[in-house]
């Protein structure tokens, strides 16, 4: 388990069972009796595990065109390495695993085999928001579900220093059955939209708010005042007097506390533009590194570069590159000077 890699091909249409694949891996790497943890890099650069038929099939079907497989010894495995943003992002798995001295975490206690998981839509910032408000993150990342909701103009009543006042507002008007918004159950029709990714919507037109939501659609965080206030979390730490009705003006009252907690993450959330260089392999565009490169980032750059040029990726111990279809050989044999106009059809299938 040094930095060894193998490359072989599989029939994309008939991947077979996970057990067979596991056996094949052990056979190819000549490690028949070692318990290993198999992981793969999905199209978003996430390191995800392969441990049953389902996620194995998914891995093969999403391979594009290479399926990059990572194999770790089970006893050395770092479970924290799996998950979203793990491969390329902040915590660089490759760097971690390639430089074991950097890797002094206690091994996690294995409770069960990690499933194919990633962050999901959720209510966030409960601690800093007034009880009448709810901040919902719709996490579209990697799912095929549409966001699936509509917004409309409307008016709401606010408590102002001059008494009650009717002000225009933006409301959720419809949820599409089967969409992310409906399936999570976190948003409902007639919820008033107060913020979109930390930006207040008051004073903005319906079209502006629409554009803002679409611009943030990959990681949409909406702060709403739910139409139904009965399901609110009652927090004991709050002063007892704050009931649902009396805090309608809370938006005015707690501007500082509303400071969103997700900002730094947000900065990175759409950094995954893709560039296809002349070798035809799509890759994510890295963030430009400052001139004083840390050793870590330097390594990362080199690795990315190498992977981009060869179509291979080195891994911690053994890396397999599985050609999921016949396209692999096509890449290898292509004459570099050949005009790329003709070949793009196969490439833009991201």
């Amino acid at each position: 388990f040094g930095a060894e890699f193998r490359r072989f091909s599989l029939e994309r249409s008939k991947p077979g069972k996970f057990e067979e694949f596991y056996g094949l891996l052990q056979h190819v790497h000549k490690i028949p009796n070692v318990d290993v943890l198999v992981g793969y890099a999905d199209i978003h650069g996430d390191l995800l595990p392969i441990n049953n038929d389902d996620n194995y099939h998914k891995a093969v079907s999403t391979a594009n065109p290479l399926l990059r497989i990572f194999i770790q010894k089970k006893e050395e495995a770092d479970y924290s390495a799996f998950g979203t943003d793990t491969l390329i992002k902040k915590k660089n798995v490759l760097t971690n695993v390639l430089r074991p001295d950097n890797h002094r975490k206690k091994p996690h206690i294995v409770i069960s085999m990690p499933q194919d998981f990633r962050p999901v839509s959720s209510i966030i910032d409960v601690d800093i928001l007034p009880e009448t408000h709810r901040r919902v993150r719709l996490y579209k990342y990697g799912t095929e579900k549409p966001l699936g909701f509509y917004i409309r103009d409307g008016s709401s009543v606010r408590v102002t220093p001059h008494g009650l006042e009717k002000v225009p507002g933006i409301f959720i008007s419809r949820l599409v059955p089967g969409g992310l918004a409906q399936s999570t159950g976190l948003l409902a029709v007639n919820d008033e939209v107060l913020e979109v990714n930390g930006i207040e919507v008051s004073g903005k037109s319906l079209d502006q708010v629409t554009d803002m939501m679409i611009a943030n659609s990959r990681n949409l965080i909406i702060t709403v005042r739910p139409a139904n206030q009965r399901n609110n979390v009652v927090r004991n730490s709050r002063t007892s007097g704050s009931s649902g009705q009396s805090t309608d003006n809370s938006l005015l009252g707690y501007p500082q506390q509303m400071e969103p907690s997700f900002e730094p993450e947000d900065e990175d959330s759409d950094e995954d533009d893709i560039v296809i260089e002349d070798n035809g392999v799509p890759q994510q565009i890295p963030k430009a590194v400052p001139n004083t490169e840390s050793l870590e980032s330097l390594t990362q750059m080199e690795l990315n570069l190498e992977s981009g040029q060869n179509g291979f990726i080195p891994s911690n111990e053994v890396s397999l590159t599985t050609a999921a279809s016949g396209t692999d050989t096509e890449f290898e044999t292509r004459v570099p000077n050949q005009k790329l106009l003709e070949e793009d059809g196969t490439i833009i299938t991201l």
Partner: protein
């Protein structure tokens, strides 16, 4: 949190920003939309045009322009200049030039106000007097007239040319009386058998000419002693068959003896009743000037001096619905005079525009020379409306604005100064076979045809073929190469030639679908090129025609005159053409295979910008109700009411079914992702950091950027070796918003210069040592990437932050108003909300933001074009460009002076000497106040009174100065304007 830590609070930067940026709407170019009234001051030699939206625009000598706008949206019905008489009592209401006074005009009071306006010497006009006028007329009328129970409307009201105490009153039933104001009695009366439309005095007051609803006019000698029962002479100029009414007539004497008779209408009802004609009859000659749009009003410029014995008219000024036409009455054949302003931008609807700054003198002269060939039919007369003095400095550089039109023409406008002047008109139509042959039109008019119609004016909204429409223009000012692309996928490359020439235009087809088989284009056919050699007049002559297949609208165009390449894109893909070797280099299909909409046809099924632009133009045109009523007082009152009601209905409907917006992420499968939005040539580092090479960049609606490395043979082998292209990069922006701009910054973070700019010593060579950067502007974000290795460096998420999308982006150089040679390159950005912003380069920091266009004004936003020096233009109506400036240094605005005292008694006021009476300076400034520049005293260089605040400022300035400038009031131009009933005065 970074977004909260902008350098906005750096005081040095704030100071610098004040030196660099400033927002002003400076001047409106073009012809006022929906004109409704014409006024002319013979003493000031100033022309006034009022519009249905309540604007009044004053024009004098080229560069002398004033504009005022009523607070309320009321049509201007009549405009009269009140000669200042130094009578303070009377003039307290009239606050000065360009200050508009709307008098409360109640129904029925209209006539009297006409007296006030025209006469101006009538003592203390008011309600009681007016009553008197009516009653008195009834009292003293002779028997036979009184039998016609009612006299009905007063149609004509004219002061005696010599004696201010005599007024001619003409009633619509045919009665004309001459009223003595001093004696309050009727001096004499005339009774016509026909309904009266208008009447006028002869200069000496001895003759009255009346015109009637049956197309006749009559002459009545004025003699208070004898009662005239029959007219001296009656004539139906276009008889004997029934004719339409003559609605206005001028009777003008000349030294030679024979008078000029100029009248509106009177055409034979059956065959020419639909024409908009003004006839001029003099000395056996008769011409019916035939206008393409309705005639609003007309006036004749003649001798001003009241002591002169004859009128001696020299020019006929006609305000038509869509243009102003001036005829030279002294030259043979009465040729038109080329107007220096009020150009009809919309002779054919504007479909696109392109601005080129700082044109080299050589090219400028050649374009003017080409244009002079086209202007031979114009009179050599100097522009006769020449009041006031323009104080604007000579423009520092020559700027061209090119407008593309629906009829396949490109017009070249001199946009250097206040007057937008047509230099040259290029037509792409001769290249194609169209249904109508232009030669037919010419033969249609015979020699001895009656009536003697003559088409005048340039307004021609009818397009032979909508496919001819121009969509993109690209001019290289150094080489004189021009690329023009149109609606049916046609791309023409043109070259400037000073001689007439006949040659074959080479045709090439660019198949943008390539291998995509089995799709059927359901849109329009491509244009059919004219076979064989075509004769072209001097000017830009096409030599290559590339036709895209399918023939979809060309959506982007770029020309590199140094490499001799032209790139074009449609909704299907883009291509590169070598116009030196006349060879296609490559085409690239950008279409998503599932995008059926784009494959099948034009953008008709999906709401596109272009379409909505065109639609709103149509709507505008339709809303101009061609009212045949002569009395405009009634009709404009009704129209808003009706539209109000429909609006209210619309609002109610909206409340019933609230507008919903779907929130969904963009996907690769969305429609029109392949639509090529922008093309850009750059000499940069595409593959590695050691070699730079020519490259072509293309951005699509789906957020994809393609980069092609080009190999252009060196000049000596340019014809021998082919140009090669190879795709090197493809960037997919994950937010998938349309890419609207691509730009490469050199090692010093300065945008790369234009082709040939360095060769002409007009730009520093770009820095090729440091690393280049790529700026990609999508509708939602600005992103800077490093080159040649593409890595994300910086970004500005505009839409996520404020919900606005980028509509137009352009690099502009902002010079400092303080330091002579200091300047910065930044991005000028127009958003879909109509805001104009400046975003800094290369750090992408928002600098300033100004509201510019109403967000509902889709066509205004779509038509916006920026200049290289921080100015811009956008359409405020189909016929008018608003010019604005973001720069403190580059500001083109009218600075002018009208001095009423000095010119009052001049017949030929061209000598600008004498005591200058200046007027208060006020420039309408959208959001910035330039109060510190305001000088006390009555200095008004230019007043754009559409800003209420500015109006108030002017008002207060004038009021405040009244005491100290006692003589000032008597010298001012007082202009009163009668409006429809119930209008308040603007204070």
């Amino acid at each position: 949190m970074r977004r909260f830590l902008r350098s906005g609070h750096d005081p040095a930067r704030e100071r610098l920003k004040r030196d660099l940026f400033q927002f002003n709407k400076t001047v409106e170019h073009g012809f006022p939309h929906q004109p409704s009234a014409l006024g002319y001051s013979p003493s000031l030699r100033i022309l006034a045009i009022g519009t249905r939206s309540g604007a009044v625009k004053l024009y004098g000598a080229p560069g002398v322009e004033f504009m005022g706008l009523h607070r309320e949206n009321n049509a201007v019905v009549q405009i009269h200049f009140l000669p200042g008489q130094g009578c303070p009592q009377r003039h307290t209401d009239h606050r000065g030039p360009a200050t508009l006074l709307l008098q409360d005009a109640l129904p029925g009071h209209r006539e009297w106000q006409r007296v006030r306006g025209a006469g101006a010497r009538l003592p203390h006009a008011g309600g009681p007097d007016h009553q008197l006028g009516h009653r008195a007329a009834a009292m003293v009328l002779p028997e036979e007239a009184r039998q016609r129970r009612v006299f009905e409307m007063v149609e004509a009201l004219q002061e005696h040319p010599r004696d201010p105490n005599q007024v001619l009153i003409g009633y619509s039933r045919g009665l004309i009386v001459i009223w003595d104001l001093r004696g309050s009695r009727v001096l004499c009366h005339f009774l016509s058998s026909q309904q009266l439309d208008s009447a006028c005095w002869q200069r000496d007051g001895r003759l009255i000419v009346s015109c009637h609803s049956d197309g006749s006019y009559c002459q009545w000698p004025v003699n208070p002693d004898t009662q005239q029962l029959e007219p001296l002479r009656s004539c139906v100029p276009y008889g004997p068959f029934p004719c339409k009414a003559i609605t206005k007539i001028f009777w003008l004497t000349t030294k030679q003896g024979l008078p000029f008779t100029i009248f509106q209408g009177g055409m034979p009802r059956a065959s020419y009743g639909d024409r908009h004609c003004i006839s001029v009859v003099h000395n056996g000659q008769q011409t019916a000037f035939d206008f393409t749009s309705r005639v609003i009003d007309f006036t004749v410029l003649s001798e001003v001096d009241p002591a002169a014995a004859f009128d001696d008219p020299y020019a006929l000024v006609v305000l038509a619905e869509e243009e102003l036409v001036v005829m030279d009455l002294r030259a043979d054949g009465w040729p038109p005079v080329q107007p220096p302003y009020l150009a009809s931008l919309h002779c054919s609807a504007i479909t696109c525009s392109h601005h080129v700054s700082n044109i080299p003198l050589k090219l400028w002269e050649r374009i003017i020379a080409a244009g002079s060939w086209q202007n031979t039919h114009f009179s050599t007369m100097e522009w006769p409306i020449d009041g006031g003095i323009s104080l604007a400095p000579t423009p520092p550089q020559r700027d061209l604005l090119l407008t593309g039109h629906e009829d396949g023409t490109v017009r070249f406008w001199d946009a250097s100064g206040v007057c937008l002047r047509l230099l040259y008109k290029l037509s792409t139509v001769p290249v194609f076979l169209t249904d109508t042959d232009p030669s037919e039109h010419l033969n249609a008019q015979g020699e001895d045809e009656w009536p003697p119609l003559r088409k005048v004016g340039s307004f021609d909204p009818y397009s032979d073929d909508p496919r001819l429409g121009i969509q993109k223009i690209f001019l290289c000012k150094y080489s004189g190469y021009l690329a023009v692309a149109g609606t049916a996928g046609q791309v023409l490359v043109l070259e400037l030639n000073d001689e007439e020439a006949e040659h074959v235009v080479e045709q090439v087809e660019a198949d943008l679908l390539q291998d995509q088989e089995g799709y059927r284009w359901k849109g329009h056919e491509r244009l059919c090129a004219r076979p064989g050699p075509v004769r072209f007049e001097p000017g830009f002559q096409p030599f290559v025609l590339v036709q895209c297949q399918p023939p979809a609208v060309v959506t982007s165009l770029a020309l590199h005159s140094e490499w001799r390449l032209v790139a074009f894109g449609t909704s299907h893909g883009f291509g590169l053409f070598d116009h030196q070797q006349r060879r296609q280099v490559f085409v690239k299909c950008t279409l998503h295979p599932s995008d059926q909409l784009a494959l099948e046809g034009p953008l008709s099924r999906v709401k596109s910008l272009k379409k909505s632009l065109r639609q709103s133009f149509r709507r505008m045109r339709r809303s101009r109700v061609p009212s045949q009523k002569r009395r405009p007082a009634g009709s404009p009152g009704e129209v808003p009411e009706r539209s109000c009601r429909t609006e209210r209905l619309g609002l109610q409907n909206m409340e019933l079914a609230p507008v919903q917006r779907k929130i969904e992420a963009r996907t690769a499968e969305d429609s029109f992702t392949g639509f090529v939005r922008t093309l850009y040539f750059a000499d940069t580092y595409l593959r590695d950091s050691s070699r730079h090479c020519p490259s072509l960049w293309a951005g699509t609606n789906g957020g994809t950027v393609y980069a092609f490395a080009l190999r252009v043979p060196p000049a000596e082998r340019r014809m021998d070796e082919p140009v090669r292209a190879e795709q090197v990069k493809e960037i997919q922006l994950m937010h998938r918003a349309p890419v609207v701009g691509i730009l490469v910054l050199d090692g010093h973070s300065v945008p790369l210069p234009e082709p040939l700019e360095v060769a002409h010593d007009l730009s520093k060579s770009p820095d090729m040592q440091g690393s280049h950067q790529l700026l990609v502007v999508s509708e939602e974000q600005f992103k800077v990437f490093t080159l040649p290795k593409v890595s994300a460096k910086l970004k500005l998420k505009l839409t996520a932050l404020e919900g606005s999308r980028v509509r137009r982006v352009s690099v502009a150089h902002f010079s400092s108003s303080r330091a002579e040679d200091y300047g910065e390159h930044h991005l000028a950005v127009l958003t879909n909300l109509g805001d104009i912003q400046v975003v800094s380069l290369p750090l992408l920091k928002p600098q300033v933001r100004y509201g510019c266009i109403r967000r509902e004004d889709v066509s205004g936003i779509a038509s916006c074009v920026f200049t290289k020096h921080g100015q811009g233009f956008y359409l405020i109506s189909p016929s008018e460009f608003e010019r604005f400036s973001l720069s403190t240094k580059w500001l083109v605005e009218p600075r002018c002076l009208v001095d009423s005292a000095e010119t009052k008694n001049h017949s030929r006021p061209r000598n600008g000497s004498g005591p200058e009476k200046a007027l208060g300076r006020a420039r309408n400034s959208g959001s910035q106040s330039d109060g510190e520049e305001k000088r006390p005293g009555p200095v008004m260089e230019h007043a754009l009174l559409n800003d209420e605040r500015v109006l108030k400022e002017i008002q207060s300035t004038l009021e405040g100065d009244r005491g100290s400038y006692g003589d000032w009031r008597s010298q001012q131009v007082a202009m009163s304007q009668v409006s429809r009933p119930g209008v308040q005065a603007v204070r």
